[in-house]
Amino acid sequence: MGLLSKKDSKLILDPLADNNPITIQVLGICSALAITAQLKASIVMAISVIFVLGIGNVVISLMRNVIPSKIRIIVQLVVVAALVIIVDQILKAYAYTLSKELSVFIGLIITNCIIMGRFEAFALGNGPWRSFLDGIGNALGYGVILIIVGFFRELLGSGTLLGFKVLGDPIEKTGLYAIGYENNGFMLLSPMALIVVGIIIWVQRSKNKALIEEH
């Protein structure tokens, strides 16, 4: 990355793997699990969080010297809520069916712990540009997990990706279905999201022994 210094690019790359907000920091699980039955919803959710966290981090970082520390949580909540309202209204205007599917989970970006966590841990102590990069990096790390989970759940659960029938047609028995493959409807149910994330954590930690917890 020629554009960014080494320190700055670390801000973006670190949360993608070794300091991932979901699998390592355990932040922002709620929305990650509830909407990942389809790849499309996961992608939209990831983009929304990138938008909210990127802009929100800049706003908080610009205001960091004027916010009295006693009421900072309320100030942060108001900033996030305003940004989330923008996302929600845009979705309602341009992708109504999708916004119905995501239902309350767009609203729950407000209480997504990643956002409050990054505000508290980073934006309150750093300049706007670095906060912006940090926000984008963490939101990307969150989005990557969301998209991986969404990919597997949609592929194994309904045999489609983004709505395209990649494994053939289950009714006309083409493609994989011709040799007796069946969709695993269980993948679409909510408990499987937890188990898929658990397996991702397993794979990641067995690759990188340093991340293993004592107990």
Binding site: I74, L77, I85, L108, C113, L189, W202, I212, E213
Partner: protein, 243 residues
């Protein structure tokens, strides 16, 4: 009957943790010991019971389409529902602060056990989620909203209590090293969620699948908006007649 049904439905069928994954962050972070889990669970029950009815009132008299009609007939077509996120979260944040002050003043012993958890709760998705589901599921009366808040709080409490107990025990078992800690907790929660799915048929006799439920609520919503519009029309008519 309505109350009993909602009560059990919110605890078991629509359990906040296992069915909708609300409040997962604190659920995973604070479930290492049973005693702290009980403290946080109690605080969640308390705050949900207070904020859901409050937000119900806000929703009913300020936010939804036509809600401002009590100010006068000319306000009948105001729709402020886009403001609900910001008003709900502001209510929750202030209520949490208020509850903290009141509890500290009147019951120091309760404050000592709940105290450290209260600020955490303002950003717990279970609390905001409770209010948002209350809005999207069209809870009809204040009493039902109170019931809904209380019983979903109990559901959350049960979930965190159960996982904390399991995590205390699992320390003595030989879990594969990369799964230790977070990984195994995820998988156990998944298995518990599968277990809780068996409650799904408890109230409906196994007829309702989640999908039909959704369409039903959507239809209900449409009907409700229709009825509110009719109600507004009636109100307007009545006011013109009295004039």
């Amino acid at each position: 009957m309505e109350h009993i049904e909602l009560f059990f439905k919110s605890i078991f069928v629509d359990n906040m943790v296992f069915a909708t994954f609300l409040g997962m962050c604190s659920y995973l972070a604070v479930s290492k010991k049973v005693s702290t889990a009980v403290g946080l669970g109690a605080a969640v029950i308390f705050v949900l019971t207070v904020t859901v009815p409050l937000n119900w009132l806000l929703d009913q008299y300020i936010l939804r389409e036509g809600a401002l009609v009590w100010l006068g007939p000319e306000f009948a077509d105001y729709d402020l529902s886009f403001l609900s996120f910001i008003l709900f979260i502001a209510t929750i944040a202030t209520m949490v602060q208020l509850v903290e002050i009141v509890v500290e003043k009147f019951s120091p012993s309760l404050y000592n056990s709940l105290g450290i958890f209260l600020p955490l709760i303002a950003v717990n998705c279970a609390i905001l989620g409770g209010s948002l589901f209350m809005q999207s599921r069209d809870i009809e009366t204040l009493g039902l909203a109170l019931n809904y808040g209380f019983s979903s709080g109990i559901g959350w409490f049960l979930a965190i209590l159960a996982i904390a107990a399991i995590r205390e025990k699992i320390r003595y078992s030989n879990v594969p090293a990369p799964l230790r800690g977070l990984g195994i907790t995820f998988i156990i929660t998944g298995l518990m969620a599968i277990g809780f799915m068996s409650f799904g048929g408890m109230l409906t006799g196994g007829e309702d699948t989640p999908k039909t439920d959704e369409t039903k609520t959507a239809v209900q919503k449409e009907e409700n908006t229709n009825t509110t519009i009719e109600a507004i029309d009636e109100v307007v008519e009545v006011s013109t007649i009295t004039e």
